[in-house]
Amino acid sequence: MSTRLATRGRLIDRSKPIEFTFNGTSLRGFEGDTLASALLANDQMLVGRSFKYHRPRGIVAAGSEEPNALVGLGSNRRYEPNQRATTTEIFEGLTATSQNHWPSLEFDVGEINSKLFSRFLSAGFYYKMFMHPKPFWKHVYEPFIRHSAGLGKAPDKELQDADTYEHFYFYCDVLIVGGGVAGLQAAKTAASSGAKVLLIEEKNYWGGRTPVDGGTIEGDDAQDWVTKTVAELEAMENVILRSRCMGAGVYDHGYILGYERLTDHAPDMAGPRHRLWRIRATQTITATGAIERPLSFAGNDVPGVMLAGSMRDYIANWGVLPGQRVVVATNNDDAYRTALALHHAGADVVRVVDAREEGGGKLAEEVRGLGIRIDNGRAIAKVKDGKRVTKVAICPQNGTGGAREEIAADAVAMSGGWSPVVHLWSHCGGKLTWDAEQAHFKPDPLRAPTGADGKAFVVTAGSSSGPMDLKSVMANAAKAGINATQAVGRTAVDAGEIKTSVISEAPMLPVWLMPANADIELRMKTWLDYQNDVKVSDVQLAAQEGYESVEHTKRYTTLGMATDQGKLSNINGLAILADSLGAEIPQVGTTTFRPPYHPISMGAIGGEARGEIFQPLRKTPMYAWHDDNGADWEPVGHWRRPYAYVQDGETVDQAVNREVKNTRENLGLLDASTLGKLIVKGPDAGKFLDMLYTNMMSTLKIGKCRYGLMCSENGFLSDDGVVARIDEDTWLCHTTTGGADHIHAQMEEWLQTEWWDWKVYVTNATEQLAQVAVVGPNARKVLEKLNATAGGGLDLSAEALGFMEWADGKIGGFDARAYRISFSGELSYEIAVPASQGLAFWEALVEAGQEFGAMPYGTECLHILRAEKGFIMIGDETDGTVIPQDLGLHWALSKKKTDYLGKRAHSRSHMADPDRWKLVGLETLDGAVLPDGAYAVGEGVNANGQQNTIGRVTSTYYSANLERGIAMGLVKHGPDRMGEVIDFPGLDGKIYQAKIVDPVFYDKEGEKQNV
């Protein structure tokens, strides 16, 4: 029976009762309780079911190492699976449900796995079976396995998380992780140097275990020392303390993640739920303490079997007595503290089972003095199975488990010794060394993780360094503070020896199995990894089958792969493995420690980036107008561009067709602001552009424009656009929307890293200007009307501004630059105005254009218009594997220039291959639209049995002007095969027959644009 004590409980406030529910039952706790302590206070020993065997499981630990007590917490938009009861602070209205059982926690059908099949479900059993009949894996076995695995249930598929998250970048000289006495001392020492110090502690209280374990520091009772020290640190300007903030991971170059849980303990509080601290610390001190190891005996997973240290935590911290009749099993002196705590809290310590023949030291004497029976050299043979502890069988440690004595008990406190928490030390490459005396791995200070400067950047402090007694812990912590401070170039005040109480302890005895030669029946009931149901026999089987590397054993048995990452099981597991292999533990080594120390929410990792700030959304100055006027948006990089403007009663396709016709017949307006506009200036600008473009740009006359192509060094077409020469040493290069940033970056790269002696400057002016394409037979009319009505002298007549020319001036009162260029084959002007007037200019055009039939058009119409004219589009006709020659763009490849990017590449054998597919137009025989991406089939199959192909569609549209499908494609020997009909099988099963034609479908003579 687990009960709440009338006294004790330093962390709870009995004046503040709290109601919460567990599996629908209303229970009470106090402010300061964890869910685990509150459950225990209500005698709720059974809290969950194990992963594989669905064994009844209770709370074993009191901190984040807890493997069993995982619950589903909250509901709806605040539901979260797999929350640890031991790290969950209770609050009014908390709802928790246990996991991994059906139909209920008490009666779980899955338990049959444990009762009947457990011996069949040994390590790796599924690799050996479920192979026949073959389809059964997908349809029977796998679904079954998946449903019985998996722990908590998934959050609702449709609900958005109710909470928000954020990040915080923080920089300090010394970061201390862990706010136990060691962390506090290290912080105090480091802070004395004036260094900027951040101290983080995952729990909501300071001091770690010491106030529970007792002792004095500098003459004060541990708790008083903690209170005093915290106050001292809080008063210092150079120190920041954060509780509820876990050191989650240590990454390269001193980058550390802090995971601060802001509202988990009070979900109704406004503000972000979690904050991910992205800390860059010159030195990090990990003062993360030590974790107690369970003992490996049969039935060590029965609810009521608990870590000894945790049991006294429950008594001291939360005033909860987990059992009335308790057996304490140990291989070291520390567990006697639990015996004392139990006794003083009123429990009956029915036996202390000490595996050591010699027994314990001073603390043992004290226990014996209280009349408690201590059995030396003995072990727990077995705890009787069930939903809670009822009987404990005791036997000699050096035996197979025979000669048992059975005693009645309702709880067992076990201690297998303590292991330093070395996770953070190890994340970034810190190495460990084996301490045979204490039987644990501890950090090897000579092989610390190293940072950007090649020097160690992590120091450990306190029990996470190895020493377990208070005196050495404090000395080690102070030293860590001094070392870290030195490493940041400062001098700490050396406080000298820190006086503490001293209790000498007898040496511990490594005990990896209880009893030492436990028979197979017992080993099959002896748990190593509670959550993943890995037993001693599993590890032994893995070794027997040749999975000898500790990494193989881990993966074969799943030891240490559960949500606790083996905090309790790893060392015990590898000791068993070492024993099975006849090897020493350090030879076997550990598995790799990886972040996070303890699972962290995905929400926190994503941070603020959700909803409208999931990603930047780039908007042109006319964005709002488009949105108000029916824009069907298309994402283009981070931009959003109107695909079409849908009017009432129209489908998107109808809108596109309307726009296509209207632009050719009347007037279309396109927001072309996203096109890249790079200004290139300098005495060597012409020479530079000649290198970047395949054609000649240096000879372009001022006032003129030229269409240019760019290739990568690898020869592939990468961008295109119209280049205008502005003055003697200035050019303006238009790029594609996607190309703007990237071509700009590329220009800078060549200028800075290859031709750094060339005098050229580049500025990306893309966003300075809003650009509108005014397209169609009425293009000139609308602009002239603007000039006439609103003033503006720019002469836009054919004579003053010829095709492929540009001019600056005022149009309708706006400062403008007009380019007479055309991507549609129509009379067309592209007009740039300052972005701050883009919307006004656009609106002016729309209004003035009314009488000329002006309509805005979107990207799809743009595509169709250019396809009707056989103009290529980067990203359609090109895909990163296409060279200009494939597209019949030889005319744009300068013969005069000795060099330009891509030129050398074009002479490689495959690029000069006459069999390359070449651009042609394609017309279906029946006028249908060729399917996008279709391939043309050739004769036969290739060496791998694949159908041979001879071409593919690169763009295909319905042309409303021609009232038929038009397409372009790349076809083997295409230009030589005009008029031939080739077959394109569609995904719909139909074969589309298309004639190879010239790619210019509309206005072949190009008369329309030249008016």
């Binding site: 928000t164 954020e166 990040h167 915080f168 970048y169 923080f170 920089y171 900027k196 920041i240 509080m269 406004a270 503000g271 972000p272 904050r275 992205r278 860059r280 603020e608 980036a609 409208e612 700030i613 990603q615 930047p616 959304l617 780039r618 908007k619 042109t620 100055p621 981070h638 931009w639 200004i679 200036k681 300098g682 005495p683 005098k759 400057y761 580049v762 500025t763 002016a765 893309t766 966003e767 300075q768 200007l769 005022k810 009162g813 706006f814 400062d815 300052p834 972005a835 701050s836 007037q837 919307l839 006004a840 002016a844």
Partner: protein, 188 residues
């Protein structure tokens, strides 16, 4: 010609700090050789201050100059005078190798005021914003969450932020989220 409008037309939000889109600001990108005395004089003539030190912004009555890179300054002037100053600058530098372009409309400007300003920025920019490290007159180019930005701190502890115009709304929402009244960190 109609009145020029900034990306968000002066939108503002008050939380733990006040975030304001600042309207249009005259900005000239000036590239050239900093050590050239002609260049230095031109800068002095246009904005009334010397070429700033690395990662600094200097101010005068008539304008400011910010260090963008070893060969690039950002000159801040009155919006209405940008074109005139640009012409003057081009004239002054004629014959040297330089580039001067008006980028006023390519950018959006924000201020963040209030005691929580440092924290608001520290949630989204990987920069040490502690008062001993980042001081008034410091100018820094970095990223704000997923976009490039530049910012500086003035004597009145106001942060000034510049980003591209197209992402003004993203920037505003980012700062707004960061300045949520219940999301104070409490370290600065």
């Amino acid at each position: 010609m109609s009145d020029p409008v900034s990306a968000l037309n002066g939108k503002t939000y008050s939380g733990s700090a006040t975030v304001t889109e600042n309207g249009l600001c005259g900005m000239i990108v000036l590239r050239g050789t900093f050590t050239d005395t002609v260049f230095q004089q031109a800068v002095r003539d246009i904005v009334g201050c010397d070429v700033p030190d690395i990662r600094k912004l200097v101010r005068s009555e008539i304008g400011s100059a910010a260090w963008m890179s070893p060969d690039e300054l950002l000159l801040l002037v009155d919006y209405s005078q940008t074109e005139a100053k640009l012409s003057a600058l081009r004239l002054a530098l004629a014959g040297t190798h330089f580039m001067a372009e008006n980028v006023s409309d390519a950018r959006a400007c924000f201020t963040v005021t209030g005691a929580a300003g440092r924290e608001v920025l520290a949630k989204i920019a990987p920069v040490d914003l502690s008062p001993v490290v980042f001081k008034s007159g410091d100018f820094r180019r970095t990223r704000f969450a997923q976009i490039a930005a530049a910012f500086w701190l003035d004597e009145a502890d106001t942060f000034h932020i510049i980003c591209f115009r197209s992402v003004a709304e993203y920037m505003f929402n980012l700062l707004k989220t960061s300045a949520h009244p219940n999301a104070g960190v409490g370290v600065y």
